[in-house]
Amino acid sequence: MYQKIVTKGSTDYCYLKIRLDFGKDHDAIIDALNFKQLILSAAKDVFGIAVSCSLIDVLRYEKSSRTAVIRIYHKYLTKLWSSLTMYGNINGAPCAFRILQVSSHLMALANNSRSMKLHMVYDG
């Protein structure tokens, strides 16, 4: 009994971990609903209603760090990524979306060794 399946082509979904940063001297409290609204308006500004109507799921949102894990269709990855990059202003406050991680497996976003913080034990 042995079965093997290899998926090499494009997968249906793509997952992104993104963070919203504000410029110096600016801050705002953004909840999950606002966050999704911002992503939609970013997509709509650049590519119009068709892209903003595609699937954008906010799977997890952390209010304190304004970090979210979102799920989108793989074919819209480039469009959504570029529209998030170009978004830079909320009601006059300069801001930027940071794309922290991109993967076609949601499991990959559970850990990021590039941003791993080391906790050291100093023993004299």
């Binding site: 079965q3 090499k8 997968t11 949102y61 993967s103 497996h105 559970a110 850990n111 060794s113 906790h119």
Partner: protein, 355 residues
């Protein structure tokens, strides 16, 4: 429509621990550089303490500014590379833009070098096979080779070349072959060479789920049929990922998220996901999986899963060259069932070679 370049590949295997030809040990032991281990237990409220104890017993260190020629010195090779199982990976270096260095438990020094460093260093290597049009070169030196000792031309050449290269910061863990030797000997070794070496603490993350829907999985059925008696293998992997990132429960709010547990599912009163982060030796993963197989049978759990994330900047994913293009995924997940069958998922970056 133009074909979209994949951002990742998934290799799924279904087999049993009782199968003579199965290769779960090979999968675990050749995946040398692990940055986290995560365990998901359905219908259970805590992860057995043994994993925490094993992580505490394993000593891992952060060593600063190590000259590379130190790794090829006889003291180091005889004392650590040959006398135990050593995992070393450079820290703070990105595989797509910097030079990365690692030592595998098999005693192989692997360096993934940028073009200019490679041309300057003067050692023989090959163009990295992870991705096209990337100018990264892989140099491998077998530290355990019979012909690698002082006095030979090759040894002296390697020693000289490495001494010309920059110093690196490393994450290190070492398990000695001899049980009487303390794993902290490696810390003393670096200290005697006046190199800063501090012990690392592992980070622990917990996600608890109460009254939570879990998918019904039949180990023999990997793809949903028309009767829908069990879940599809890819939906299960996505769901395990959702639990690992700690998905928010929006209670049927379709505006924020349309994601839901795959069907068919059932409610479990309690589930837990625990993840440890640090540099984790492959033998710890092996021991833990063996322990969990018995634990699952004793506690009558429907299944259990162990996920290991490799370092995204590791020069190797399993035995092949590794690169970073959008992501540097090299992950594996064992989904184990009480009848000794298991599903193995291996996720790698889009440009990497399938193991």
């Amino acid at each position: 429509m133009k074909r979209v370049v994949p951002t990742g590949k998934l290799i799924f295997e279904r087999t049993s621990f009782l199968n003579e030809n199965e290769k779960h040990l090979q999968c675990i032991l050749t995946h040398s550089f692990n940055s986290s281990i995560g365990v998901f237990l359905p219908e259970h409220d805590c992860v057995p303490r043994i994993l925490g104890d094993m992580m505490d017993d394993q000593m891992s260190y952060y060593v600063e500014q190590v000259p590379l020629n130190l790794l090829t010195e006889t003291d180091f090779i005889k004392g650590f590379v040959q006398a135990g199982s050593l995992c070393m990976i450079s820290y703070g270096t990105c595989i797509d833009s910097d030079d990365c260095v690692a030592v595998t438990p098999e005693g192989m020094l692997v360096m993934s070098l940028c073009k200019d460093t490679y041309q300057r260093c003067g050692l023989d290597g090959h163009l990295s096979k992870a991705g096209k049009n990337i100018e990264k070169f892989v140099v491998k030196v077998d530290l355990k080779s019979d012909k690698f000792y002082p006095g030979t031309k090759y040894y002296d050449r390697v020693q000289w070349c490495l001494s010309q290269m920059a110093n690196f910061d490393f994450l290190v863990t070492w398990i000695p072959n001899d049980g009487k030797v303390c794993p902290s000997s490696i810390q003393n070794f670096f200290k005697t060479k006046s190199i800063q070496c501090n012990r690392l603490k592992v980070n622990k993350t917990n996600h608890e789920f109460k009254n939570f829907n879990i998918p019904i999985i039949d180990p023999a059925v990997i793809e949903t049929d028309s009767e829908q008696k069990s879940c599809n293998y890819d939906e299960v992997f996505e769901w395990l990922g959702a639990c690992a990132v700690g998905i928010d429960d929006y209670e049927g709010d379709d505006y924020l998220s349309t994601y839901s547990c795959p069907t068919p599912n059932k409610q479990a009163s309690y589930c837990i996901y625990t993840q440890y982060e640090g540099i984790i030796h492959p033998s710890i993963v092996k021991q833990y999986i063996n322990y969990l197989r018995q634990f699952m049978k004793d506690k009558k759990l429907p299944w259990s899963s162990v996920t290991v994330h490799g370092f995204v900047d590791s020069p190797l994913s399993w035995i092949y060259d590794h690169g970073f293009h959008n992501n540097g995924d090299n992950i594996y997940t064992f989904l184990m069932f009480p009848n000794d069958e298991y599903w193995l998922y291996r996720a790698i970056g889009g440009q990497d070679i399938c193991p």
